[in-house]
Subunit: 639 residues, 2 copies
């Protein structure tokens, strides 16, 4: 009998001792980090509302209870009863019965009404039909990404369960190492922005954190080939942890599966969906630009199949000697500060990922409270000595002035924007400004992936800022559903209509004017001096956005069938700072200053050479910590 079998036998005995005598436990097994308990008496199990919580706390495991397939009522009968129990206002859009696990996946417009107070409705369902309900939100804005991911996972359900069982046994294997140490190896994003990637290792476990590309530097990928990364085979890695969906953190995760990795990818649920959206777009862009993509869409699907969603604050076993907890990072939807607790109190390392310290309209500020943390691996994008940003209130005032001026002269505003994060922040600004009368009501056209990214945001309101979430939940006044917002889904024809029409605002990708529908908007709006182009995000060296910002007004355009022409830019160009998803220098310092507990060591990464050096030196002098500005390919030992 393997050590995992023994462990499961012991757990089954413990559970049997804890539950009332009339409840039969037929099996206990691991699926990923969760302990799945099969019972022949699901109704009795559900009658004690506190039983699962008590078991979880006693066994220190995440627990899922499922009915033994033998005792299930027929789906047809069950469906009838379930529909009776759930109030109509919940807006159930799909009911999906999985006889193999006894689960019903219920998709509803208002998941809270399916769950009930403290889960009372869910328990009522189980008591009535025996099946275990699982609830997901019907996206308020239809999202093809969300529905593709859900359909794919439904279709791959059997194989996914096999994957999760294998991962579960791996996580709960017997600890073999008798040595103790904790190390971080840098594989990318050191003294540079882009290709974020780290290895966190102990004698027992090796975890890869992030695996991104480097925008604007084709071919500069993380150093995956070195022995301490994948050199000894992609399957020598225990787990992949993803802080957030942006491509400079996520782009190359599917490549790991091409190399033979078949372990878990831990991230939040919205990160999983956004990651899928961005990775497929990454392949698309590569194909359009005639580059050979490093992997196929098949590997994106593999990535999604291997993803184990984590909720903020949940402590999850990811290896015999490692627990992962994700916390809100305030940067984009689902972004996380990842905290690793190693050994039995041996050491704690937090990876900030990308953070925004202050609250924004979309998100609460980054969490920096932990039970313990000795080392912090900290982003430093705006860590330079002069990297202070304009206050968001001033930025919003300036943006509204620009819009008003343009409106008064009958012009149109076009804003190049990143699909994920900044666009939604701007939508909230514009919606409020129109609602309060700060700017006139007019259409806001969303082009490129912005609409789809927004749909994903509305699917996961739990990940948005408290008051925004409450508005969506309780007041039914979802600002993203405001009628001004129009999805450009009619291609060039629709764009032409917009161009010919009344004053309006256009948000379009790409955010740095390097391709995508913004090129079309340049053509439509560019030659009219009454129009305005407004930059709200960072424009990298070498991008067309940066050139336009710097005053270029002769823009080479490749027309249809690759005829080239030149566009003379007549419209005004403005820049409004202060909408960054990154903490500025002040925010970064505040994150560390108010961090509780204060870490002993900080590795400053994810910033240009001068930014990480400035920031490392500042933290050392202000807080007397041991700080480092690592290079790529270095290894630090902490314990």
């Amino acid at each position: 009998m393997s050590s995992v079998e023994r462990q499961l036998d012991d757990l089954q005995a413990e559970i049997e001792a804890e539950v009332p005598g009339d409840i039969t436990i037929s099996d206990v097994t691991y699926e990923g980090p969760e302990l799945v308990v099969y019972t022949r008496d699901p109704k009795e199990f559900a009658s004690d509302g506190d039983l699962v919580r008590r078991l979880a706390s006693k066994l220190r495991k995440r627990i899922t209870v499922r009915p033994d397939p033998d005792v299930l009522s027929h789906p047809r009968d069950a469906e009838e009863q379930v529909r009776k129990i759930i109030p109509d206002e919940a807006g159930v859009t799909d009911l999906d019965f999985h006889a193999d696990t006894g689960e019903i996946v219920i998709e509803a417009e208002k998941p809270g009404m399916v769950i009930g107070r403290h889960g009372s409705t869910l328990r009522e369902i189980t008591q009535a039909v025996g099946w275990t309900p699982e609830v997901v939100r019907t996206p308020p804005i239809e999202s093809s990404t969300v529905s593709n991911v859900r359909n794919f996972l439904k279709q791959e359900r059997d194989e996914r369960r096999d994957v999760l069982e294998r991962i579960g046994r791996q996580i709960h294997r017997e600890e073999m190492a008798d040595d103790e140490w904790v190390r971080v190896t840098t594989l990318g994003c050191c003294r540079e922005v882009g290709r974020a990637s780290f290895i966190l290792s102990t004698p027992e476990t090796r975890v890869l954190i992030d695996c991104g590309d480097k925008p604007g530097a084709e071919g500069e990928v993380p150093y995956l080939q070195v022995p301490e990364a994948l050199g000894a085979g992609a399957n020598t890695i225990d787990a992949v942890v993803l802080t957030h969906a942006h491509l400079d953190h996520s782009a190359l995760i599917p490549l790991l599966f091409k190399y033979g990795y078949d372990g878990p990818v831990y991230c939040t649920e919205p990160t999983r969906d956004l990651m899928g959206l961005l990775q497929l777009d990454y392949l698309d862009v590569a194909a359009k630009e005639g580059r050979a993509p490093p992997y196929e869409s098949e590997q994106v699907r593999e990535t999604i199949k291997h993803t184990i969603p984590i909720e903020y604050g949940d402590v999850t076993d990811i290896a015999p000697d490692m627990k992962l907890t994700m916390h809100n990072a305030g940067h984009i939807l689902g972004s996380a500060v990842c905290h690793f607790h190693i050994g039995d109190g041996l050491y704690n390392v937090a990876f900030s990922g990308d953070i925004h310290y202050d609250d924004t309209r979309l998100f609460n500020g980054a969490v920096n409270e932990f039970p313990r943390v000795e080392t912090l691996v900290m982003e430093s994008t705006y860590g330079g000595r002069n990297d202070y940003q304009t206050d968001q209130e001033d930025s919003e005032r300036k943006l509204k002035e620009v819009i008003n001026e343009t409106y008064e002269r009958d012009g149109k505003v076009v804003i190049p924007a990143f699909a994920v994060g900044r666009s939604q922040e701007l939508m909230l600004v514009l919606e409020e400004a129109m609602r309060t009368g700060d700017i006139p009501e007019m259409p806001v056209h969303l082009d490129g992936m912005i609409w789809e990214a927004t749909a994903i945001h509305t699917t996961y309101p739990e990940y948005l800022r408290d008051d925004l979430r409450d508005r969506i939940f309780h007041d039914d006044e979802n600002p993203f559903l405001a009628e001004q917002f129009n999805h450009i889904d009619g291609g060039e024809e629709e764009r032409q209509e917009v161009a010919d029409g009344d004053p309006c605002i256009v948000l379009s990708t790409s955010g740095m004017v390097t391709g995508g529908p913004i090129m079309s908007w340049l053509r439509h709006f560019g030659s009219d001096p009454d129009n305005r182009m407004v930059f709200v995000g960072y424009q990298a060296q070498g991008t067309l956005g940066r050139r336009i910002q710097n005053g270029w007004d002769e823009i080479p355009m490749s027309g249809d069938r690759s005829r080239s022409s030149t566009l003379t830019l007549e419209m005004d160009v403005e820049t409004v700072d202060g909408f960054s998803g990154h903490a500025d220098r002040q925010g970064l310092e505040n994150f560390v200053r108010t961090m509780n507990p204060r870490p002993e060591k900080v590795l400053c990464v994810h910033g240009d050479e001068s930014s990480v050096q400035d920031f490392s030196s500042a933290l050392y002098h202000e807080f007397n910590m041991r700080t480092f500005a690592p290079k790529n390919l270095e290894t630090f030992r902490f314990e």
Copy 2:
């Protein structure tokens, strides 16, 4: 055709173009780092004394010329001619013909007389018989180690050639990596003394430098199991480089062969022999103490079979992007500072190994001149702020005083000493003191491995201090052959005779009184207050030597058949400092101060935590270098 085949074809063409038209080149092949040129005209080749040197310089390779086996004269005829050519005074003790390679191995008491001025006698031999002569020294003191190693290599000659050909192809493989970086990973001896081990790596190549045990800390071995060491398989290492033979640098090299390594081990020839001696003793001690040895004597033989000897100053290709040069380190016989030149001028790293900066009686001081060096990995054994040693002259005066006093009261002196290095240094002191009349002539008995280690020293006089070597070469006054020196080879009976006899001096292992014949001398001499025990080396915490030094005089002794008894120590105990094989703090600083060129970075290793911290900080403040005191398991990137 592989890239190595193409390379060899090109080299053959280049050689054919360079040599006179009457010389036929029948084959060109690699054996380890050497290029072996087979010719049908060995006599003509040998007639131009400068031809090989010109070829080596043009092709930038180490070149060996061998006759095509077809054209060899019969060994019987050849032997007669060879014996005629070599002067009788050379003292030939063995002639060994290897028809497969056309080599004659000539063992002689005076190799210089077989070689002749600038190799003239060797050339004369080839011109006469076609065979290629290779000369080794007949040990002036018979050494079973040297003869065992030589016999073993003779016996394994065929297999060794296969090994060398494989290694040769590996060294000269086509360079595949298009990336450039240089890293050092610490696997041991950081913030500690013992288990020296490092990985030097580039995208193309990984080299293991040293692989020692940690005396007094059973089980604390280098971190070989991590991915960047042997985690991906022992054969992912390109080469092993050994700085010197002491067990804290060499003990675990045979373990690599147990793990499946079958690549080269680079070290000097005396290091190879001393390493074999010490490793076999290591196994012996483990067996005697009832511990399971980590490997068998079979793996020691494998290590010797895979050893490629390097001479001081020779630049040797050990990988497509790495050249190794060893320089005298002044620490023990054959000890080397190892200099690595990486890429085509990309970077240079020097590993000090253990060094002695000043000249000693045995050795010239450590070399610290290099064409280039950016990073120095530096031993810091005596790097602490107070680690200054007594001047050797004062130490010698004190030792002689102690001996004279003891002699006058008719007592005997016993000195626990390490077999390799310190014993030979003392022998030189004692021989001179008796010759000049500073102390009376009396027998000096050598017990344990000291005699054997001394025999190895006399086999390689080229590795001794200039004037000592010259005395041995030219004046035929080898001090190690002085008649006072007596090898204790008669066991307990002989020891009893010595104990019953007249005043004398005994040098015996182990150096820290942790076992070996010194235990017997304690019994024989210990109860007589006229005798003296003199400590001349470092006594580690926890050893019996340290306790006696600190005043213990009730010594628990395990007698024959493990009866235990207690010895009351009546003899005087003295300590004479200043004979260390390590540079003291001043010597370490001087090594760096006078180093040419001055390195940019220094990693301070091989010292207790406080020593490396003190030394690292001192170098930083005095020379404004970037200095580090690494922990084990860290990786530093330099380029």
